[in-house]
Each structure stands twice: as structure tokens, then as C-alpha cells.
Amino acid sequence: MGKKQAGTGPLSRRPDNSAFKQQRLPAWSPSLTPQTVLPTFYILSLVCLLLGIWLLITVEYTYELKVDYTDAGTCEQCFNLRKHAIDSSTPCKCTVSFHVPKTFPRVSFQHDVVRLSARCLPQGDVFFYYGLRNFHQNLRRYMDSRDDAQMVGRKNNLKAPSSYCAPFDYDANGKPIAPCGAVANSMFNDSLTVMYNPTDGSKIQVPLYRKGIAWYTDKNVKFRNPPTNNTFSLQQAFEGTTRPLYWQRPVYELDDTDSNNNGFINDDLIVWMREAAFPNFKKLYGVLNRAQGPFTEGLPAGNYTLSINYNFPVEPFRGRKELVISMVTWFGGQNYFLPIAYLVTSGLILVTAVVLTTVFVKVGKKGKNMEE
């Protein structure tokens, strides 16, 4: 009985008695009960609270300094120079002084907890960023205006930039531009030098690592130079191409201090080519070299001078330029948003949990209407 008879027979068309076909698959059917929901809310609230506190303490430890040099100090003159025409040929230098009130990174702490957590932080790394405001790297056509195949060093792409680069694909003479596109063309080309002015009146240039500031994958995979060898120089490899319109130097001469940092694998270029998601952004410029002098512990407090080769025009798009000096913790630079968001969330969840509990105890119908 009950067995399906094979082939013919009176029950031959009887459907299989499998759990799947009869919709009797073993299953877990969870349902929301006060016993599960209410504790979940309290636990969530607690977890968020703890995370929030921990993050807040960590952030408290970090320090960030911004120096807006758009038209500050002597730069006003350069600012005005760049205002009207994008006159790339005329160099303009200016300086801005600023004060670092506390040593980077701070070392004195009030609380033991912080001291404890500070111990596992990287010691003394100070990062220098250039920040741009109101510069839209995230415009669709801007972002598309690049040729990744060209920048990976493919020979045929080098001479035949993608049509997406238009109008920055060929110059007026019909020469292909390398690297092509609006992104590369608008590369940030101020050079920044920071001088430390100790109280003794001397001037010490703050040493920066200008390399190793890009993603590993970008530097090693995404951006490659066209193949060269001992006899075939980089310049020869770029033969037949021209520099982007707004650039002062061709791509193979971007770094005059290190020939290995030229071409598409130039760190500054790579950093610039990683487009920012929002119109206000900062990009890494360099990392403090703590090998010597007063900088072994970090950036000492005191007066500094920032001298700029002022090339990048921001006036046309009402932008601002700034130097950002920051230090990082295990979860990055100074960022108050996350801890505060966690604390607020924790509070809201706690309120919800209390409301839910009240409702459940006072007016809940659960169980009362089983009779209905």
C-alpha cells in the first residue's frame, strides 16, 4: 500500500510522495516573539554603545590640521594670476605660514584606557594631503574621460586613445595625447614644500616620502609604462604622443628626481587618476620621513611655512585648495562621524527597545486573543 506502482496500474499517475513535491520539506519557521525581539534590541543597543565609545576614544587620539592656501598669505597674487586664463607657462611661487599647536602625534593622555589603546597604534606617522573643494571628479563624463588601456602601457592604445577621452584625445595637430582624457589633463600640479621654523630661527625642510602613496594594485598592475629596456628609453616609448594640454611637462618627465617614477607609473598621477567620489576631497601628497632631525617622533609643534609652486587654478570653478596634515589610527584618519553615528543609533535603539517593552507589557495582545 501507499507504494507507487511502476508503469501502469490504477495509481500510475499518482504524484510522488516526496517531501519536496508535497511541500513538506523540513523547515525552520522562525517567528518574532517578545523573547527573541526584545533582548535583540537591548543587545544591539549595547553593542552599538560600546563600539561608539571605543571609536570615539580612538578618534580623540587622532589629530588633523588643515591649511587653506587658496588665496592666503602671498598666494593671493598667484590666485589672481591663475584667475583669468589658464596660463600654465608663467610660474608663480608663494608661501603660507601656519602653526602646529601640538606635536603630531600627541603623546600625553589623561586616561589609562586611552594610553592602553594608543600603544597598539602606529607611532608617529604623519600624512600630508592636498585637499580640493568643489572640484567634481565624479562627473560622469569626467570619469569616463580616460583610457585605462592606454595607461596600462599597451602600444596600440598609446597611439590611439579611446574616443571617451575626447576632446582630450588628440591635440590640435592630431597628435595623440598620453595620458589622454579630462582626468589626466586636469591633474593637480601644485608642488608643496613645508618648512619647519623652530624657535631658533632656522628653517628645516620637512622631509616627505613622495612615493608609495598609491594602492599597490594601481602602482603595479593598473598603471604600466610602455615596454622599455636599456637602449629604448621611456621618452622613446612615448615618441609620437604629446603631453596633455594643461601639463607643463610630458608624462615621462613628471618626476625629475627619480626616473623610475616617470611615465604612467608616477605616483602623483596614479593618485590623481583614482577619482574622488565627492566634490570635496583630499588626496595623499606625502608621508613624513621620520628618519632624522626633529621629526623622529613626528611633526613637532611650532611654526611652519608652506611654499607652493602655484599652478593649479581653482578660481574658475570657485574651488579651494588646502594642505591637510593628519595622523591615522587603526581605522584611519580623524573621523567623528562614525562614533557619533554609533552612539546615536545606540540611543535610538534603546529608546525603541524601551517603547517595545512598554507596549508589550501594557497593551500587547499576544496570547490574549488565542481564544478568538
Binding site: 500500500m1 501507499g2 495509481l11 500510475s12 499517475r13 504524484p15 510522488d16 508535497q22 520539506l25 523540513p26 523547515a27 525552520w28 519557521s29 522562525p30 517567528s31 518574532l32 516573539t33 517578545p34 600624512f127 567634481h136 565624479n138 562627473l139 560622469r140 569626467y142 583610457d147 585605462d148 588601456a149 596600462v152 599597451r154 579611446s162 586636469s186 602613496i213 594594485t217 598592475v221 593598473k222 574622488a276 567620489a277 576631497f281 583630499k282 608621508v287 587654478p313 574658475p316 570653478f317 570657485r318 589610527t329 581605522f331 584611519g332 584618519g333 562621524f337 562614525l338 553615528a341 543609533t345 535603539i349 517603547v355 517595545l356 507596549v359 500587547g364 496570547g367 486573543n369 478568538e372
Partner: protein, 1291 residues
């Protein structure tokens, strides 16, 4: 035909104009060709191989959504606009189109197959004087074809001649109008003389008749032949779909063929059915389009402003594209770009996912073992896959009667003779008088029919003892009828009755020793208790609808003249001799009792006539018979004259056997708030009887209105009265609640309707319905009918069935379901939102036209309450989630627009956009849409109220939609702004800023996938292994694909396409990113969780409660409207006459005497497959021991005695095997309980149940008492059951 028409016809060559009249000349194809009548080929398919692709694509692009996506695709090819790669649209679009195309092709293939099967049936056509085999499709108008016995009629034919005398032939029109009794058709006498093929080949008559129409019961035409005119009527027509019976062969002239036949004209248009969810979905999609355009406009305006204020200044870095010369044009392009980006709010995969889910549900229906009928070896079948969720919203069921509710088997069940009732096996005190085996008649009566069952020994004893009243009673039954007999060999009698109930009566008489053996026009020969007696048949006073009785006047061998009469009690009792008063009262009580059981009753009487009386009357009668004017009236008067002063003998009760489980199903369905209307071609009395026996009508009902008027005024009046009565009754019942009573006129509150004033029933006949369905009265009719608990429409034509359904559909905005088994139900099945065909019967038209088919009416409860409910629930949950996830996904772009200069930059990687809907999030929601269950299936049958949310459309409506959308938008806000807030300042731990676009894209996408996965996990109420696999698998797939897409391998091959190189590693390695994702998830989900909890806590749905208390067996179940039968039954006539008048005349005239006078043996052998055999087969199938349903006491007691098991393995399985009744038992109690149900259902009475309960109660706790009690109540109609139960409980 006037000249104009001729010209008209001549001009219109290719397209047929509407015919005004039809001219057909026999045997003249050339002549008939001119008119371009439709051929007999039937085409229901839509495509052929060559046109398939073009036609199907054309059809598919008529879908707004598909055209829209095509439009998007074209937009994406414009580089200035294209914000996404073309493949983000084309991949899903091609997928959708091809899946639909495959489905359409499969459907059409089966249509081709069934068309071919019908079109290739063979028929014999007379061509050039020779009979040739032709396929049906090649039969033309004007051909003469030959039909043989038991063949289907191939087209609408004019009967020319027949092998039977007088050009008679018999047809069964079950396929056409559902009436199973045979009908007689007669050819014109001039043509019937033609006889053989040679003469017919010379026949060149011309028929001029009405154009094709759908009226089954009338035909109007003239035959012109040899300069003579002969009027033609429906009596001369054989319609396609009929089956020739009891007629060796006949010839007919094809008048209407193929699509012009009345059958096809009646089948209505094939309409593409859409569910209400479909319609809602289309509306919503339109709204979403509107929303999309709004978003596009907002963003375009933003773009205009931005380009003017900022972009113009930014031109040195990024000049406008060549065609763009100002910000307005840029904004215009930006609008289209955003239309492309935001198009994912109308997900293309929506439609395909919906189809997949419905397909899954259809398979579950096909696979359901509990909808499998082992008797006919048919499983349920979902023939269309697009309507499943509508099964969960049905409010009105329109049911056919014959073959759907009933089996169309009549059995002689009880009788009352001389004030004594027989057939009731238990006496009132409920003594342990056990059900005995069916009486064995064959021992003493060699002529007894073997498949006749009767259980009451006392009746047999009475016959043996020779009680004169009993003898006379059966003598009436054996003499007073129009049955024809046929004796293959000695003692093997076959009765051919025009109506099955007459057959049942004669068979009963036969088994009790009064065997009707044969008849001639003037005699009836019977065998009374072994002794052959021949009565002289003096007159048959035939039956008709008004008389509601028939009589015969016979002279017995002794020469005494007697009138025997049987008829409706109401009619008969008026004509009894006054000395019968006391007997009449007793019999009347019995009749009420029988009628209360839903039995069809007839009263039986006789009258002794003296020779003088007879002479006088027969003189009178002959005068009336010969009268030319008002013959019918004068005959009726003559009959009336003699049918007086009769002596009552008793009454018979015939059971019109219901399909299994019909009353239970109807009870459960009405508990689920589904209204059931019976639409039948049968007579009013029969229909009402069935209404009672299947518990649609009860004696508890306040009032049953019968609308039977023949004129517009009278129908209107009757309807108005009915409404007034209802209002009145409502007022009187709850006098104080005046407010409610007033509110009832306009939109009566449903509670009022159901509880108080709902206990009304409306019975309306076909001719009244014709008036009631007219435009000015339909609202009135509908209002009245909908206020009633039960509605029965009788004598309705197939088209009227469809009209009624259409009416409700149009005005009630409710989902309708039509269920039927015959071709006469096709139009109704096609009209209703959902059509259900009963399969396993002879005809398959209903099944072919239906959306679902199964073989038993009772499966309907499972189809609706389990499958329908689940489908609806799943579809709603699916849609809610689907809209939610797409809004959450898409609206992020909107927020990002404000930061990227409205430049239509996407937030996500384009591959993510392509794959999000079809890979990352499709399977978990599909699994939920296919497998989710809120409560187990048993519970939905136990709590029919769970069905209500579907009817009220609570789970997915515009409000729910907006909630989903709001939730989606909220999620998108969180998903954009939390990462924005965090990442715009954050750096990696090595100092590299995280604010680059690619990191942001990866973070947001990951957060999105995680949030929607958590959401689906919350929504999934039934986690099978498949759900687990899909949910975890989707997450896994997301990360796998993410890392693969961002790998250096792909980048090295296609650097332009896969420029997200390394983003996954760099981003997902950062703790801050994970903290962001976690925060976003918590913020998105916590409010949802809180709201759900509040809802559950404050306003729990019934399903929540049921789910919560799933393990607690509900102890108290309200019996609903299924109270036991009242003691005093209402007085009504439940008389049993299913046939039409006219047979008596045929018999006396001897026209149909051929059967008895010609060689019987040859005839019998030809008729081996006649309907009587079918009947016998069915009876065999039902009878104990014949197959697998032994309802005897000893067998059915085995199940409760089986060892208690916690699962439904062996014991329950046994029960299932025995009764074909689904048993799902988790405890010995339930096993026992189900055993009771099965047994009761099989046996139809309660004595066995009594035994069961006694056994059962020993093992079960008393908590289940109520449930058993309830089961008993619902299945048994006897009071004995209660008392036994009560006693058992006391023990």
C-alpha cells in the same frame, strides 16, 4: 435574399460579412462555395512554426513593460545619453523574452495537438453517392454525412434520415447543455423516406435558415425541395458536440460547420486572463514610471541649475559634449540618462520572476497527492500557470450541478409505504442495529440487478409476507414509467430510462420482485414475484412540467382497470380521496424527512376505475387528443379529470448521489466566506434538492425565495419582494438596531449580512434570469442575489451561465471561480476569473477550457484554501520585497545625483547593476516566493477564516506598496548617507583616503546586498534547506563575483571594462568599511523589526495567532452554519422527474418500439458501451469490495486499532489507501478522527461512525471530544450520531 445582399456578398470576397441568412444546398459544393462558409476546421492555436517568432515578439512587445525596455535599450545606444552599458538592459530583456517565448510555444504546441486530435476525427461523408472517410476538418457545409451510434456529431446537422422508424434518433446532449437524459430528434418525413445513400446523393434540397448564433434550443429555417417548402425547427437538428445514442445510424446535412456551430458559438471568446495582482502590478508599474519621470525631471532641473552655476565654470576641465551648447540641452540629455539609470525601479526581472513563481506553484498543484483521485487515476492539473495567486482571493464560486456536485447516479434510497417508512436502518432510539450487508436479492430473485443496494431487511420481509400495499407500491413502480427494457439474454435486463431517477425506481421494483420485462405499444409485461403478468396499457398520461406527475391506466389480466400515478407530493395530495387523510399526514412527515436529507421524492397512488368510467373518459380523451386547437390544454383537462380520488400508496425517496465530500467542502468554503452559486441546466426541483443535500440550503434558512416569473414585471416584482422580505426580517430580528437596518439598503455591513440576514436563499429559473440579466434590472438582481447565502439558478443556458458570472465579475469587483464538467460550462469557465474543470468524466471540453482541472469537487477546498492561499501569500510577500529591494537599490543614484553635479553618474559598478536583480538578489526572493508558508496546510483547512485576507486583498495593495516603497527609499537614504558621512573623511590605516569613487561604490553595493539579504531573511517565514542555500549562496556569489570582477586577470584582458581592479581587496580589508556596513544594516533593519513586532503585538493577524498556537490543538471549533437538521422540515416538494414530456406519446404510438421488437442480441452487443454500462461501471466502482473502498465495519475499524504513531506513516497511510481521503494525522486521535471522516463519507450514513467513535474514545483524551463531535455533525445527518457520542462521552 434581396439584391443588395447578393452584391454585398459578391464584393466581400476575402472577408465574410455578417450573414443575414444562410443558404445551403445539399450535395452541391460549388454552390455553397460561393458563400465562403467557415469550414469545419477548428483552430484554437495562435501560432505556426513560421510565424511564431514574429507574432510572438510582436505580442510580447505589446506588453508595455517590454516595449519600455526596448526603448531604454535604444536610448542606451546614444553615447551622449548612455549612462550605463547596453548589456545592463539587454541581458535581462533577452532572458525575459526567451523565457516567455518558450512558455508560449509550449502552450501553443498543446493547443495544436488538441486541435489536430479533434480535426482529424473521422467521419463518413457522402461524396458522389459513395460514403467516403473524411477528416472532420474537411467536412463542408452542404455535405451529407453519416453518423453511427455513439459517435460525436461533427457539425450542426439537419437530420435527413435515420435507421430508426419515423426518422427518429436519440442524442445525448451532455457535452452541450449538461443534461444527461436522452433527447429525441426527428427528421422531416419527406427526407426520412430517402433512406439509403443512393437516394441521398440525389437529394438537392436547399435550406434557408438563420445565420449562426448561440441559441442552443432554437433553430429556424425552411427546406425548399421539389418546389415545396418545409419548415425546420430545432427538433430536426443534430448539434455538434452531441452523441448519437440508441440509433444505429443516421444521415445529416451540414448546416453550420466549425466555428459557426452552436457549440463553438457558445464557447465564448478565448480571453487572456489576468489576475487582479497583475492588474494592480500594471497600475503600480505605471505609477512607478510616473515616479521615474518625476525623478528624472527633478534631476534634470538640478542638472540645468548645476551646469549653469558650476558646470559652465568647470568647462575648462570638462567641456560640454559637441552637440551640447547650453545648460538646457545638457539637462535634457541628463533627463534621459537618469531615466536609464533609474529604470531599475521597474525591474525587468519582475515579470519573469512572477512567472517563475507561478510556474512553481502550478507544479505544486500538479504534484499534490491529496488532489489525486485514485479512482480515476487523475491528478490535479494547473493548466494555466498565470492565475495561481488569484486562487487565494476567490469570493464567488459558480458551480455546475450535474457531474460536478453530483455523480449523476440515482439510487433508490428510502420509501414510505402505507405509513411505514423503510430504508432507515437505525431506529430513532439509536439502538445497536448495525449496518448489515446490502440485501442479497439474487438468492430469490434471479432477475435482480446486481448493483442495486438496499439495506433494510424489513422491506424485503414485507414483500415476502405479501403485504398488499407493498406489492401494489412496487407494482406502480414497475408499470408507471416510460422506461424501455432490453433483454440481451434470458434474465439479463437492461433498462433504458430517459431520466436516471425513473430508472432507479424501476430497478428498485425489479429487485423487490416486480420486474418490468418488456413493453409493446399496448402492453406491459412484468414478472411479479416470479410470475409473468401482462397488463394492457390503456393510456399513458404523460408527464409535463405543469402537471408534475404521470399516470398510466392499465388493465390487469383479471380485467380490472386501474390508474397508477406517481408525481410530486404537492400535486398528488390534492387529488387524493378524502379517506386518505391520515395516511397522507404520516406520509407527508416521511416526505419532509426525506426531503430534509436531500432526497428526491415522489408520491405514489392508484385509483380503481370501473369499466364505465374508463369508457366515458377515454371517449373524452380521444376528443381532446384529436382537437386541433388548444390540444395541450384540453389534454391536460382530460388528464385532470381522471386523476382524482386516488388512493395513496406511499412515497419514494431517491438519492441523487453527490460527489464525495461535497457538503463538507461547501461548508468549509462558506466558512471561508466564499459564496457558492449553483448554475445548472437542470430543473428547479432537482437543483433545489441538490441544494439541500449538499447543505447549501438548510431548513434553518429564514426564507427561500423562488423567482420564476415569465415577464419583466413579474421578475422585478419578485425580486423586489424578496428584498423587502429580507429587510423586514432583518428589522424584526434585531429591532433595536435600527441603524444597521438602515445601512443595509446601500452597502450592507458584511457582518450583518452573514450573521442575521444572510440566511436567505434565492432560486431563479432560466427564463426569469433572462429578464433579470437585462441592463436595467441586473443591479437589482445582483444586489438581491448577493445578499443571499445561497443562489441557485436553474434551467440556464450555457450563455446565461457566462452572463451571470460576467455580471458578478463586473459589478462586484470580486474574484470569481467557475467549476464545471461539461461543454455547457465552457463559456462560464472561460468567463470567470478562474475556470476549473472536473476531469475524469467523458467530455473534455470543460477541462480544455479550464485553468485548473481535477476530478473531484472536494479538491476545490484544497485548491483554494491551501494552494490558493499560499500562492497569494507568497506572491504578495514576493512583490513587497521586490519593490522594496529595487527602490533601495535605485534611489541611491538619486541621492548621489546631488553630489555629482546631476551628471547621471552611477553609484555602483555597471556589472553590479546588471547582476543585482538577476543574480545577487533573485534567488532568495524566488525561494521565498515559491516555498514560503505561514501556517501549515492542515491549519488553513482547519481555520477557513485564514482565507479572508486574500479576499479583502490585504496583503498587497496600494497601501502596502507605498509602505514597501517608503521602506526602500529609507534604506536608500541610509545606504547613501552613512557611507558618505564615513568615507568622505576616512582614510585607510596606511593613510590613503577612502573617499575615492570605487571604494564608495564597493562599500555601498556591499552594504546594499547585506541589507537586502537580512531583509529577506526576516521576510522568509519558512526556511527550507533551499532557502538557506539561496540566501547564503547569494551572499557568497556576490563576494565571489566581486573579487573576480576586481581581479587582475580580468583587468589584464579587458582593462577598460574591468577598471575596478583591486577595489574589493582594498575596500573590504578596511575595518572602517565593515563598521560602516554594519551600522547601515542596523539602521535599516532595526525600525523594520520594531514595526513588525509592534504589529504582531498590537494587531496580530489570524495567521500569526495560528502560527503562534500551532502546537496547541484547537479545542473549540465553531461549527459555523452547520447546525443539525431541524426537527420540523419545511414542506416542500422534492419530486424526482428529470426528463421531458413526450415520451409517453412515443411509447403509445409505438414509434420507439423497435428495440423490443427487433433482434435484441445484435443490438445489445453494439451497445456494450452505452451509458447504462457506464452507469453500471460507476456503480461497481462505488460498490463495496469492487475496488479499494471497503466501507464495512470490520475494515474501517482497523485504522483506529493500529498502533498509535506520531507521524502519518502506516496507519494513516492505510486510511488514505482505503478511502482516497487525505489523512494527515499526528496523533492516534487524528487517525481515528480521519477514519471516521473517511468512513462516513464512503458510507454516507452514521452507523459505522458510531462504532468508530466508541473504539476511538477508549484511546483518546476527552479534549478531542468536541472535534469528533463536530466531524460527526458535519458528516452525518442523523441524530443518532449525537446521542451515541454523548453516551460514549459519559462512559
Amino acid at each position: 435574399m434581396d439584391l443588395d445582399t447578393v452584391i454585398y456578398l459578391a464584393i466581400w470576397d476575402s472577408h465574410r460579412p455578417p450573414e443575414e441568412e444562410r443558404r445551403v444546398r445539399a450535395n452541391d459544393r460549388d454552390y455553397n462555395e460561393k458563400f465562403q462558409y467557415a469550414s469545419n476546421c477548428i483552430m484554437t492555436s495562435k501560432y505556426n512554426i513560421i510565424t511564431f517568432l514574429a507574432v510572438n515578439l510582436f505580442e510580447q512587445f505589446q506588453e508595455v513593460a517590454n516595449t519600455y525596455f526596448l526603448f531604454l535599450l535604444i536610448l542606451q545606444l546614444i553615447p551622449q545619453i548612455s549612462s550605463l552599458s547596453w548589456f545592463t538592459t539587454i541581458v535581462p530583456l533577452v532572458l525575459v523574452l526567451s523565457i516567455t517565448a518558450v512558455k508560449d510555444a509550449t502552450d501553443d504546441y498543446f493547443r495544436h495537438k488538441s486541435d489536430n486530435q479533434v480535426n482529424n476525427r473521422q467521419s463518413q461523408v457522402l461524396i458522389g453517392g459513395i460514403l467516403q472517410k473524411e477528416k472532420w476538418m474537411n467536412v463542408r457545409v452542404g455535405d451529407i454525412i453519416k453518423l453511427e451510434n455513439n459517435q460525436f456529431v461533427a457539425a450542426d446537422l439537419l437530420l435527413l434520415s435515420s435507421s430508426e422508424p419515423h426518422g427518429l434518433c436519440y442524442i445525448e446532449t451532455a457535452e452541450l447543455d449538461g443534461e444527461t437524459n436522452m433527447k429525441v430528434r426527428q427528421s422531416l418525413s419527406v427526407t426520412s423516406e430517402l433512406g439509403d445513400p443512393n437516394n441521398l446523393a440525389q437529394f438537392d434540397g436547399e435550406v434557408v435558415c438563420e445565420p449562426p448564433n448561440n441559441k442552443l434550443d432554437r433553430f429556424c429555417g425552411t427546406l425548399y425541395w421539389k418546389d415545396c417548402k418545409y419548415p425546420l425547427s430545432n427538433q430536426n437538428m443534430l448539434l455538434r458536440g452531441c452523441v448519437l445514442r440508441n440509433t444505429e445510424s443516421c444521415y445529416g446535412l451540414v448546416i453550420f460547420a466549425g466555428p459557426d456551430t452552436k457549440l463553438m458559438q457558445n464557447s465564448g471568446r478565448t480571453k487572456f486572463k489576468r489576475t487582479s495582482i497583475d492588474r494592480l502590478m500594471n497600475t503600480l508599474v505605471l505609477w512607478i514610471f510616473g515616479f521615474l519621470v518625476c525623478m528624472g525631471v527633478i534631476l534634470a532641473i538640478g542638472n540645468a541649475v548645476w551646469e549653469k552655476e558650476v558646470g559652465a565654470l568647470f568647462q575648462s576641465f570638462l567641456p560640454w559634449d559637441p552637440p551640447v551648447d547650453n545648460f538646457l540641452f545638457s539637462a535634457f540629455l541628463s533627463f534621459w540618462s537618469y531615466v536609464i539609470i533609474l529604470n531599475t525601479v521597474v525591474p525587468i526581472s519582475l515579470y519573469v520572476s512572477v512567472e517563475v513563481i507561478r510556474l512553481g506553484h502550478s507544479y505544486f498543484i500538479n504534484w499534490d497527492r491529496r488532489m489525486f483521485c485514485s479512482r480515476s487515476n487523475t491528478a490535479a492539473e494547473a493548466r494555466t500557470t498565470t492565475l495561481n495567486e488569484e486562487l487565494g482571493q476567490v469570493e464567488y464560486i459558480f458551480s455546475d450541478k450535474t457531474g460536478t456536485l453530483t455523480q449523476n447516479i440515482m439510487t433508490f434510497n428510502k420509501c414510505s409505504i402505507n405509513g411505514h417508512t423503510y430504508g432507515e436502518v437505525m431506529n430513532i432510539l439509536g439502538a445497536q442495529q448495525k449496518r448489515v450487508q446490502a440485501l442479497d436479492f439474487s438468492a430469490w430473485n434471479p432477475l435482480a440487478a446486481r448493483d442495486f443496494c438496499f439495506y433494510d431487511q424489513s422491506l424485503l420481509d414485507a414483500v415476502m409476507e405479501g403485504e398488499p400495499a407493498v406489492h401494489e407500491f412496487f407494482r406502480v413502480l414497475s408499470l408507471c414509467h416510460t422506461v424501455m427494457s432490453e433483454e440481451k439474454s434470458e434474465g439479463e435486463l437492461l433498462y433504458k430510462a430517459q431520466s436516471p431517477d425513473e430508472g432507479a425506481l424501476v430497478t428498485a421494483a425489479r429487485n423487490f420482485g416486480f420486474v418490468f420485462r418488456s413493453r409493446t405499444p399496448g402492453t406491459v409485461t412484468t414478472q411479479e414475484l416470479g410470475k409473468a403478468v401482462t397488463y394492457t396499457l390503456l393510456a399513458i398520461l404523460d408527464f409535463n412540467n405543469i402537471r408534475k406527475r404521470m399516470s398510466v391506466i392499465v388493465r390487469n389480466p383479471e380485467g380490472r382497470i386501474r390508474l397508477y400515478c406517481k408525481g410530486a407530493d404537492t400535486v398528488l395530495f390534492e387529488r387524493l380521496h378524502s379517506c386518505n387523510h391520515e395516511l397522507m399526514n404520516v406520509t407527508s412527515d416521511h416526505l419532509n424527512e426525506y426531503a430534509g436529507d436531500g432526497l428526491r421524492t415522489l408520491a405514489v397512488a392508484y385509483r380503481d376505475l370501473s369499466e364505465e368510467q374508463w369508457e366515458e373518459w377515454s371517449e373524452h380523451f380521444r376528443g381532446a387528443d384529436k382537437a386541433t386547437d388548444c390540444r395541450d390544454d384540453r389534454l391536460a383537462a382530460a388528464y385532470e379529470e381522471i386523476e382524482q380520488d386516488m388512493m395513496l400508496l406511499g412515497a419514494t425517496a431517491i438519492e441523487d448521489k453527490l460527489q464525495e465530500g461535497v457538503p463538507e467542502t461547501i461548508a468549509i468554503l462558506s466558512l471561508a466566506n466564499i459564496k457558492i452559486w449553483v448554475l445548472t441546466g437542470d430543473k428547479q426541483e432537482t437543483a433545489v434538492n441538490i441544494g439541500y443535500s449538499c447543505k447549501m440550503l438548510t431548513d434553518d434558512m429564514t426564507e427561500i425565495f423562488i423567482v420564476n416569473g415569465h415577464t419583466v414585471q413579474s421578475v422585478r416584482e419578485e425580486l423586489r419582494k424578496a428584498r423587502e422580505r429580507m429587510l423586514e426580517s432583518t428589522r424584526t430580528r434585531d429591532g433595536g438596531k435600527e441603524a444597521e437596518a438602515q445601512g443595509w439598503g446601500g452597502a450592507p455591513p458584511p457582518s450583518l449580512l452573514e450573521s442575521i440576514s444572510g440566511e436567505f436563499a434565492l432560486i431563479i429559473s432560466g427564463h426569469s434570469l433572462a429578464h433579470a440579466l437585462e441592463a436595467d434590472m441586473e443591479r437589482e438582481f445582483l444586489e438581491t442575489a448577493c445578499a443571499c447565502r445561497a443562489v441557485i439558478c436553474c434551467r440556464v443556458t450555457p450563455l446565461q451561465k457566462a452572463l451571470v458570472v460576467e455580471l458578478v465579475k463586473r459589478h462586484k469587483k470580486a474574484v470569481t471561480l467557475a467549476i464545471g464538467d461539461g461543454a455547457n460550462d465552457v463559456s462560464m469557465i472561460k468567463t470567470a476569473h478562474i475556470g476549473v474543470g472536473i476531469s475524469g468524466q467523458e467530455g473534455i471540453q470543460a477541462v480544455l477550457a479550464s485553468d485548473y482541472s481535477f476530478s473531484q469537487f472536494r479538491f476545490l477546498q484544497r485548491l483554494l484554501l491551501v494552494h490558493g492561499r499560499w500562492s497569494y501569500l507568497r506572491m504578495c510577500r514576493f512583490l513587497c520585497y521586490f519593490f522594496y529591494k529595487n527602490f533601495a537599490f535605485t534611489m541611491v543614484h538619486f541621492w548621489f545625483g546631488f553630489f555629482c553635479g546631476f551628471s547621471a553618474q552611477t553609484v555602483y559598478d555597471q556589472y553590479f547593476i546588471t547582476l543585482y536583480n538577476i543574480v545577487y538578489t533573485s534567488l532568495p526572493v524566488l525561494a521565498m516566493g515559491i516555498f514560503d508558508q505561514d501556517v501549515p496546510e492542515q491549519r488553513s483547512l482547519e481555520y477557513p477564516k485564514l482565507y479572508e485576507p486574500g479576499q479583502l486583498n490585504l496583503l498587497f495593495n496600494k497601501r502596502e506598496f507605498f509602505i514597501c516603497i517608503a521602506q526602500g527609499i529609507y534604506t536608500s537614504v541610509v545606504l547613501f548617507f552613512i557611507p558618505y558621512g564615513v568615507l568622505s573623511h576616512a582614510t585607510q590605516s596606511n593613510g590613503v583616503p577612502l573617499a575615492d569613487y570605487q571604494t564608495f561604490a564597493v562599500t555601498t553595493a556591499t552594504a546594499l546586498v547585506i541589507v537586502v539579504s537580512v531583509q529577506i531573511a526576516l521576510d522568509t517565514g519558512y526556511w527550507t534547506a533551499i532557502n538557506h542555500f539561496f540566501i547564503w549562496g547569494s551572499l557568497g556569489t556576490y563576494f565571489t563575483i566581486l573579487f573576480a570582477m576586481h581581479s587582475s586577470i580580468l583587468f589584464n584582458i579587458f582593462p577598460k571594462q574591468f577598471h575596478f581592479l583591486g577595489s574589493a581587496h582594498n575596500t573590504l580589508g578596511q575595518p572602517v568599511v565593515w563598521l560602516t556596513i554594519a551600522l547601515a544594516t542596523v539602521i535599516c533593519i532595526a525600525p523594520v523589526l520594531a514595526f513588525r513586532f509592534l504589529k504582531l503585538d498590537l494587531k496580530p493577524q489570524l495567521s500569526d495567532t495560528v502560527r503562534h498556537t500551532q502546537l496547541v490543538l484547537q479545542k473549540k471549533r465553531k461549527p459555523g452554519g452547520r447546525a443539525g437538521r431541524g426537527v420540523g422540515g419545511s414542506r416542500r416538494s422534492g419530486y424526482a422527474f428529470a426528463h421531458q414530456e413526450g415520451f409517453g406519446e412515443l411509447i403509445t404510438s409505438g414509434k420507439n418500439m423497435r428495440l423490443s421488437s427487433l433482434a435484441l442480441a445484435t443490438f445489445a452487443s453494439r451497445h456494450s458501451s452505452s451509458w447504462i454500462d457506464t452507469l453500471r461501471r460507476k456503480k461497481h466502482a462505488n460498490s463495496p469490495g469492487a475496488q479499494n473502498t471497503p466501507p464495512t465495519g470490520e475494515n474501517s475499524t482497523t485504522s483506529p486499532q493500529a498502533p498509535p504513531l506520531s507521524t502519518s506513516s502506516s496507519a494513516a497511510g492505510e486510511a488514505e489507501q482505503q478511502s482516497n481521503e487525505p489523512v494527515l494525522a499526528h496523533s492516534p486521535d487524528e487517525i481515528a478522527l480521519s477514519a471516521i471522516r473517511c468512513t462516513v463519507r464512503e458510507v454516507g450514513e452514521c452507523s459505522t461512525a458510531t462504532v468508530q467513535v466508541n473504539i476511538h474514545l477508549k484511546t483518546s483524551s476527552s479534549t478531542n471530544y468536541m472535534q469528533i463531535h463536530h466531524t460527526c455533525k458535519s458528516t452525518c445527518t442523523s441524530i443518532v450520531c449525537y446521542s451515541t457520542l454523548d453516551r460514549a462521552l459519559i462512559l
